[in-house]
């Protein structure tokens, strides 16, 4: 009786009755937690579609020659897979879902600085997604340029490029709005006593990410706009026939799209920095070094875009400069790895599912990072450029880094988001299958690339057959793992055991509020006196 009374006086954000009911209460809610979940659900839908596309491509590659689709279909599949995964999931993913949900709670605020703008950014995201995906359903066939929209093919091809490029442009706005919102939130709304160096590391990572979103996205925005104008009004920007320079397109595209890689990976690193101390039951090693390396990655990440263009035609000086800068950016990433490992040293580790995700992250992220060094070296790059090696590398970074952190975060904060626990045994089984499948899928692609198999080809010569079979089997295994993981999580929203306030005994502020949190998170704004990771 008392319990229901308490619940009635202070309902969780999931039960809260606002101005609108049902679905309307979600899509018009300015509550940062509901917006976070809106993003989560939208992304799960897009992710399922794009993952199935990826699986179909792997099935096509299981044997040489045409098996289940032709060249043109394959081209449009990898284009749609890329556009969806990059622009709809990994770029906005971690900030939009977990940033929205947890940033205000972790800094002791009741909401973000601009709640209505926050809702607007979700609407822009959905509109952008529909514009981009509408390209599949009308016009002269689905886009086939790959997600990079390289000039001059992007305005020469007869396929339906316009909606895809416009959609990516619109999605950029959503990203900018979220970035501005987070920066202002962190500057203005930290709880009393929480100075910058007492802020938890996930907000810190979001801070670096937000600056990249704000400062890099406009460049790709205007570049995509130029492609749109080039296609519609025949204004010459990149068309050699009109005096334009296609290489300039590549520069402008990668000036954004390389920093975008750090938009993807920085929040992932932030999440790992949260999970590790909680389960190591120990203060994070080198808090300051992690903060500084976050900002260093955000900064140096701006100056390495040229390493995507080593074979496109640049001066020797430019090549060397971009190569050395690429090596430099690995240093702050390595600092973080050492910090995490040092945190584990002599710790009393509580081996739970989120922590295992973090360990798997470390494993795959190191493979991804070190293979990136191979590609950053000029001589190796000439050999490996546009081969399956590159595909393996960025899937280890983007899927292995951001994707693993995404699922790690989902398992870490799930009790807080939904107020229930998931089934640990199934979560671990799913993770084991997924992890095995992931490595079986992508490791052979390193060897394929080394021996010369190009990327983006639907066909190959007989000598690549063996590794491709292994890789395709890995894809099926990985999808099976994903199905187990997602089914377990979805099922547990109804059938899971009720979660406590602090199931993992974490120390950051989100573990001091109810599970799930009430509408305003905190009855009273907390006063922070201590470091965020105070374990003893």
């Amino acid at each position: 009786m008392i319990e229901t009374l308490i619940q009635d006086s202070n309902p969780s954000f999931l039960d809260y009755k606002g101005r609108f009911k049902g679905l309307m209460g979600w899509i018009f809610s300015t509550d940062h937690k509901r917006i976070g979940l809106l993003y989560l659900y939208s992304m799960l839908v897009f992710f399922s579609v794009a993952a199935i596309l990826g699986l179909m491509m792997k099935l096509e590659l299981m044997a040489p020659g045409k098996t289940i689709m032709g060249a043109q279909t394959y081209n449009s599949f990898f284009t749609l897979h890329g556009i969806t995964m990059i622009f709809l999931i990994v770029v906005p993913g971690l900030p939009a879902v977990f940033g929205n949900f947890f940033l205000p709670i972790m800094i002791g605020a009741k909401d973000v600085a601009f709640p209505r703008l926050n809702l607007l950014s979700w609407w822009i995201y959905i509109v952008g997604a529909f514009i981009a995906l509408s390209a599949q359903f009308f016009g002269d066939g689905p886009p086939d340029t790959g997600w990079t929209f390289y000039a001059p093919y992007s305005f020469r091809t007869g396929t339906n490029m316009l909606p895809a490029v416009t959609g990516a442009f619109v999605l950029g706005f959503s990203s900018i709005v979220t970035g501005i919102n987070f920066i202002v939130t962190m500057h203005r709304m930290r709880a009393p006593g929480m100075n910058w160096m007492k802020m938890p590391l996930f907000p810190w990572a979001l801070y670096g990410t937000s600056w990249i979103q704000v400062l890099a996205t406009p460049i790709v925005g205007v570049t995509l706009l130029m492609v749109v104008l080039e296609r519609t009004l025949q204004i010459g920007f990149f068309d050699p026939a009109l005096g334009g320079d296609p290489i300039l397109y590549q520069h402008l595209f990668w000036i954004y799209s390389h920093p975008a890689v750090y938009i993807m990976i920085l929040p992932a690193m932030g999440i790992i920095s949260e999970i590790i101390p909680t389960f190591a039951r120990k203060t994070i090693f080198g808090y300051t070094a992690i903060v500084v390396s976050t900002l260093a990655i955000a900064f140096v990440g701006y100056f390495v875009w040229g390493h995507h263009m080593f074979t496109s035609g640049m001066s020797g000086v430019a090549l060397y400069t971009f190569s050395i800068l690429t090596f430099l950016v690995a240093i702050p990433s390595a600092i973080k790895i050492f910090n995490w490992v040092a945190t584990l040293h002599k710790a009393s580790i509580n081996l739970q599912t989120p922590f295992i995700w973090a360990l798997c992250f470390l494993f795959v992220f190191m493979i991804g990072g070190l293979s990136g060094m191979v590609l950053g070296a000029l001589s190796a790059n000439v050999h490996l450029h546009d081969t399956a090696f590159v595909v393996a590398h960025f899937h280890y970074i983007v899927f292995g880094g951001t994707g693993f952190a995404f699922f790690g975060a989902l398992h870490y904060w799930y009790p807080k988001m939904f107020g229930r626990m998931y089934d640990m045994a199934w979560a671990n089984i799913g993770l084991a299958i997924f992890f095995t499948g992931f490595n079986t899928l992508y490791l052979p692609m390193f060897f394929l690339g080394m021996t010369g198999m190009p990327r983006r080809y639907y066909d190959y010569v007989e000598k690549f057959h063996g590794p491709n079979i292994i890789s395709s089997l890995g894809a099926m295994l990985m999808i099976a793992g994903l199905i187990i993981i997602i089914t377990n999580l979805v099922r547990s929203t109804r059938h899971g055991v009720k979660a406590e306030k602090d199931p993992w005994k974490g120390k950051t502020l989100e573990w001091t509020v109810d599970s799930p949190p009430s509408l305003e998170n905190f009855e009273e704004i907390p006063v922070v006196t201590d470091h965020p990771y105070k374990y003893d």
């Binding site: 501005i180 709304m189 009393p192 406009p218 010459g236 005096g243 305003e520």
Partner: protein, 204 residues
């Protein structure tokens, strides 16, 4: 308790202005992409850019520059007058700003239609017979002044909306941050023109 503030009552003028300033950075970078393209192609085609720039009407450009500078002044004066609780004057000054913006657009319209009637527009026969540098110049001219004109339209809408808020007393002497933000945006639009004007009209 002072800490017990409902989210709906949350008001942070400093935060709102910080957000606007960051947004202005993004706008500058948006045009920055076009400025990069301009400078690269100007470097590659100096002679053609020189010849093409002489086609533009420096007089009309100068008039439009003066108009925008004055409009920036009137919107800044509107902020001062709302601080002095002069609602009527604020509305007049904002109205003048919008009027000047409209005059700017009318000038722009004559300038563009003049060019188009001479057959100078992207994809036209005449332009296709010119050198590649001239094609690039006029492509950039239409794209950059066009994007700028789009910003003028958005700015007029923004200022018009704030005028409505002033009229209904939702914006008043102790709560006028949205007016300041609309003015900041208007100064940005002005600033970008300050760069476009010499790049297209003056450097020949």
């Amino acid at each position: 308790m002072t800490n017990h503030i409902h989210i709906d009552e949350h008001r942070d003028d400093e935060g709102a202005k910080t957000g606007m300033w960051i947004f202005i950075f993004t706008e500058l970078l948006l045009f920055g992409g076009l400025f990069i393209v301009y400078s690269v192609y100007r470097y590659l085609n100096p002679m053609a850019f020189h010849l093409a720039a002489e086609e533009l009407d420096v007089f009309l450009g100068t008039v439009n520059t003066v108009i925008l500078l004055v409009s920036s002044m009137t919107i800044a004066m509107a902020i001062t007058s709302i601080q002095l609780k002069k609602k009527g004057l604020t509305l007049i000054l904002m109205g003048v700003t919008i009027l000047l913006a409209i005059i700017f657009m009318v000038n722009k319209y004559f300038e563009w239609t003049g060019k188009i009637s001479h057959g100078i527009f992207p994809g036209s026969e005449i332009l296709h017979q010119s050198s590649q540098g001239e094609i690039l110049f006029f492509g950039l001219y239409y794209a950059m002044t066009g994007l700028h004109a789009l910003h003028i339209i958005v700015g007029v809408g923004f200022i018009g909306y704030v005028m409505w808020l002033v009229k209904t007393d939702d914006v008043k002497h102790d709560d006028y941050v949205i007016l300041e933000n609309s003015a900041l945006y208007w100064h940005l639009v002005d600033l970008i023109w300050i760069f476009l004007f010499p790049l297209f009209y003056l450097i020949t």
